[in-house]
Symmetry: C2
Subunit: 111 residues, 2 copies
């Protein structure tokens, strides 16, 4: 058994739409619905070993995108920075209109 | 001749690293260096028609990514929002430390 990589679930939300439907489905079953290999095998009608290989291949595809583009990391960083900025603004009682603008920015960068 | 699509140059900066080197090179020659099809043909040693097809195929790949993921659009929107936020902060003379935090966020979302 390979270890479940929580990062994959995150990358699936981020890049999942460029995968084929079959790959997306199998990763979704495994990482989001927490089905076992045997359950997924029964669900999509291939062998347990086939499921294992398909998960590996699909996860590698997600990792390839993030390694090349790093966009998930950048969005996550922007979200943290926006959260920190909002906290500072709250403490300093910055004008409400400016805080609203920061909140809208936060929504845009949130995954 | 197909029309030059300025959006492609932008998407190339954004998603170019997931293309093969050949595709990235040909788009770079065409959209960034503004070489003609004939010049690119000579440069990489294929026919003019081959270049045309390669550009079309590579550009379609970029458009596919943006259609599926919409990340370039989201980054651009975040950048505009961050710029607007910084302007508002400047006008309202918001505390320098908070403005620095907003500037760092701006750097993260800038293309």
């Amino acid at each position: 058994m390979f270890e479940k990589n929580l990062e994959i679930g995150f990358l699936l939300d981020f890049y999942g739409d460029v995968l084929s439907e079959r790959k997306r489905t199998v990763l979704d079953y495994y990482y989001n619905d927490d089905l076992s290999l045997a359950e997924i095998a029964e669900e999509i009608g291939i062998s347990r070993q086939g499921v294992r290989e398909l998960i590996k291949k699909s996860a590698d595809e997600l990792l390839f995108y993030e390694e090349k583009l790093g966009l998930a990391r950048r969005f996550r960083e922007a979200e943290e920075q926006a959260r920190h900025l909002l906290e500072m603004m709250e403490t300093a009682r910055v004008d409400g209109e400016i805080r609203d603008a920061a909140r809208r920015l936060m929504e845009t960068v949130k995954g």
